[in-house]
Amino acid sequence: MSATTSIAVPRLPGADDLPPGHGVHEHRSRRRDRRTFWALAAPGLLGLAVTYLLPLLYMVRMAFNRGKPDGFIEQTFTLDTLIKPLTDSYYWKVTLDTFLMGLVVAAICVVISYPLALFLTRSTSRYKSLLIALAIAPLLTSAVVRTYGWMVILGGAGLVNSTLMHLGLVTVPLRLTNNMTGVVIGLVEIFMPYAILVMMSGFGRLDPRLEEAAASLGARPRAVFARITLPLTLPALLSAFLLIFVLSISSFITTNLLGGGAVHVLATEIYDQATGLLNWPFAAALSVILLVLFGVVIAIYQTVTRRLRLDA
C-alpha cells in the first residue's frame, strides 16, 4: 500500500479520497493515453513529415547550392546564395514592400471585417445563417476568377473608372490596376471571408451580459466598446490579422495578375527566379527569408497574445 502511494505522480486535489492503488492506475492510464495519442497522431505526423517537413528541408538545402546563369544548379555548400539577398538593397526593398503589403492588407481586412463579424455573431435574425453564408460565399469562387473580375472592374474602361468619368469626377481613368493599389484591393476582397470566419469563431468569448452590466452602470456605448467589447474580442482580431498577414505575404496569383509585373514582392520574385530563370537555389534563399519573416511575425503575435492573457 505504502509502495503504491509513494510513487511520484502529480496528485490531483482531493486525491486522498481516492481508493488505494489509484496512483498506479493513473500512471498506467496516462501511459495508455500517451500510446493512444501517438498511435492516432502517427499517420498525420507521417503525412506532415512527407508532404511538409521533407520538402522544407529540401528547400533549405537548396538555398546552399549555387544557381548558374544557364539554369542549372551547382551542387555545393555555400552561404553565397543566402547572403546575396541580405546584402542587396533591392531585396531589402522587396522584403520591406512584402511586409508593408501584408500589414496594409491585414489592417484593412480586419477593420472592414470586424463590424461585420460582430454583427453576424450577435444577430438573432432568422436569416442569420443566410447572412453568414453570404459573407463567406466568395470562397466558393476561385481566387483566380475573382482576380480576373477585379481586373475588369478596376481596368481603364472598367466599372469604377467608367462611373467616375461619367460622374465627371475624373477626366482620365485612374490607374487602379498593374500597381500596388490594385493588389491591395484584390487581396482585401479575397481574404475578407477568412477574417470574418476567424473573428466569428473567436467572438464566442464575448458575453453580452458584461456589456449590458456596463451600460446599466452608466457607461456610454463608446466606453462599453473601448473597455469591454474590444478587449474581449482583441485575441480573435489579432488571430485574424495574423492569418491575413501570412496569407497576403505569400499570395502569388492575385499579386502577379493585379500587379501587372510592376509589383515586386517576395512571392513574385521567388516565382520569377524558380520558373523564369530556373535559379532554384536563389528562389530557395528568398523562400527562407519569407519563412523567417513568418517566424518573426508569429513570435510577435505570441508575445502580444501572452501579454494580453496576463493582463486579462
Partner: protein, 363 residues
C-alpha cells in the same frame, strides 16, 4: 402496288449487294494512308512543348496527321508555358527520363544540349534533316530548328490609321498609359533589349546601358509589364493600343480579331524566335521519337503548321502557298534581324532581367 413491290425487291437486293461488297472489302486491302518509313511503328511518344494556342494548332497540324500515318502510336502531350518550365521538367526527370521529344526555345535547348539532356541524331535516323536550312542546324548534330518566328510590334488598327513603322512609336506620348510591355526573362523582353540597344548604337554584347536608359524613359507610359491574359488579347479588348508580341501568334489572333489587331515588323528590325525539336537522351521510345522528329521536319508538317500558326518552316522544300508565305517571317535575309546567339542569351538572361527589374520597372 406492283411498282411498290418491285421497288421493295430492288431495295432488298441493293441492301444485300452493299453488305456483300462490304464483307468483300474486309478481306481485301483497303486504301491505306501513305505510310512513312516506320510502317511497323507503334507505342507511346511523350512530347513536351508549349501550351495554349500553340498546342491546339500543333496538335491539328502535326500530331494528328502523324498519328493518322501511324495508328499504333499514342502521343502524350505535356504542355508547358515556357521553355524554362520545360527545362525544369526535364531536369526533374533525372537519370530516368520519361520524355522523348521536347520542342523549345533555341537558347534554352542550347543549355540543355550542353548538359547532355538531349542527344544528337543524323540523317540516318531522321532523313528530313537533310533539308533543314544550314542556318537552322545545331552544332554537334543536336536538335535543329523546327520552326522560326520573330518579334513584332502589335497595334490597335482602330487607333492607328496607318500601321506604325518604327519601334520608336512605343515612346510616343500620345499612347502613354496604353502600351504593354513584356519584360525579361521572357524572350520578347530579351529580344527588345537587344533591338533597342542596336537602335541606340551600342553593341549589346558589351553594354546595354543606353538601351536601359531608353527603356527607363518608356516605363511611365507602360500600363502593364505582364499583359493578361496575353499581349494580343489586351489589344483586341481595347485595354492597350501597342505591345510587343510574336509574329506567328499575332497573325493568328489578327484573323480572329475582326480587324482590330494589326502587326508589323518595324524598320529597325526584329529578332528571331527559334524553336528546336530535340531528342531526349535515353528517350524511352527512341524509335517513335525519331520518326516523329522526322515527320515534324517534313514538308507536309511544316506547311501545315505554317498555315495554322504562321511559323516559318526551317526546311528548304516546304513551298508555302503565297498567302501564307507573305505572313510568316522571312528567313531569306531580306529582313533586318538582330543576331542573338543562343549561348550569349543563356549567359546574360539573368543579368538583363535584373537590370530591367531594378532600373526600368523599379526605377
Amino acid at each position: 402496288m406492283k411498282l411498290s413491290a418491285a421497288r421493295r425487291r430492288l431495295m432488298i437486293l441493293a441492301t444485300f449487294a452493299v453488305a456483300a461488297l462490304a464483307l468483300a472489302g474486309c478481306g481485301t486491302s483497303s486504301p491505306a494512308p501513305a505510310k512513312s518509313a516506320g510502317d511497323d511503328l507503334s507505342g507511346d511518344l511523350n512530347l513536351v512543348a508549349y501550351a495554349s494556342v500553340w498546342q491546339e494548332q500543333f496538335q491539328k497540324a502535326v500530331i494528328d496527321p502523324f498519328v493518322k500515318l501511324h495508328p499504333g502510336v499514342t502521343v502524350h502531350y505535356l504542355a508547358k508555358r515556357s521553355s524554362a518550365e520545360m527545362l525544369s521538367a526535364l531536369q526533374a526527370e533525372g537519370a530516368t527520363p520519361t520524355t522523348d521529344v521536347a520542342i523549345m526555345d533555341q537558347s534554352v535547348a542550347n543549355a540543355a544540349n550542353a548538359a547532355r539532356i538531349f542527344q544528337p541524331f543524323t540523317t540516318k535516323d531522321v532523313p528530313n534533316l537533310a533539308h533543314v536550312q544550314k542556318q537552322f542546324l545545331t552544332p554537334g548534330n543536336y536538335g535543329p530548328v523546327d520552326m522560326a518566328d520573330a518579334v513584332a510590334l502589335l497595334y490597335d488598327k482602330s487607333v492607328f490609321s496607318k500601321a506604325p513603322t518604327s519601334w520608336n512609336t512605343y515612346w510616343d506620348k500620345k499612347y502613354s498609359g496604353r502600351v504593354a510591355m513584356v519584360d525579361p526573362p521572357s524572350a520578347l523582353g530579351i529580344d527588345l533589349t537587344a533591338i533597342v540597344s542596336t537602335m541606340q548604337g551600342e553593341d549589346y554584347h558589351t553594354s546595354i546601358d543606353k538601351a536601359i536608359a531608353r527603356l527607363k524613359d518608356l516605363a511611365p507610359s507602360v500600363q502593364s509589364w505582364l499583359p493578361n491574359p496575353d499581349e494580343y488579347q489586351t489589344i483586341i479588348t481595347g485595354q492597350t493600343v501597342l505591345s510587343i508580341g510574336q509574329n506567328g501568334r499575332g497573325q493568328y489572333y489578327a484573323d480572329q480579331s475582326g480587324g482590330k489587331l494589326g502587326l508589323v515588323i518595324p524598320k529597325e528590325g526584329t529578332a528571331y524566335q527559334l524553336n528546336t525539336v530535340n531528342l531526349r537522351k535515353d528517350a524511352p521510345h527512341e524509335k517513335v521519337a525519331k520518326a516523329f522528329i522526322d515527320y515534324s521536319l517534313s514538308p507536309a508538317a511544316q506547311r501545315a503548321f505554317a498555315a495554322a500558326l504562321f511559323y516559318a518552316p526551317s526546311i528548304d522544300n516546304a513551298d508555302l502557298p503565297a498567302e501564307v508565305q507573305k505572313r510568316v517571317v522571312r528567313t531569306d535575309g531580306s529582313v533586318k534581324v538582330v543576331d542573338l546567339d543562343p549561348t550569349f542569351v543563356a549567359s546574360i538572361r539573368d543579368q538583363w532581367t535584373d537590370r530591367w527589374k531594378r532600373e526600368v520597372i523599379g526605377g
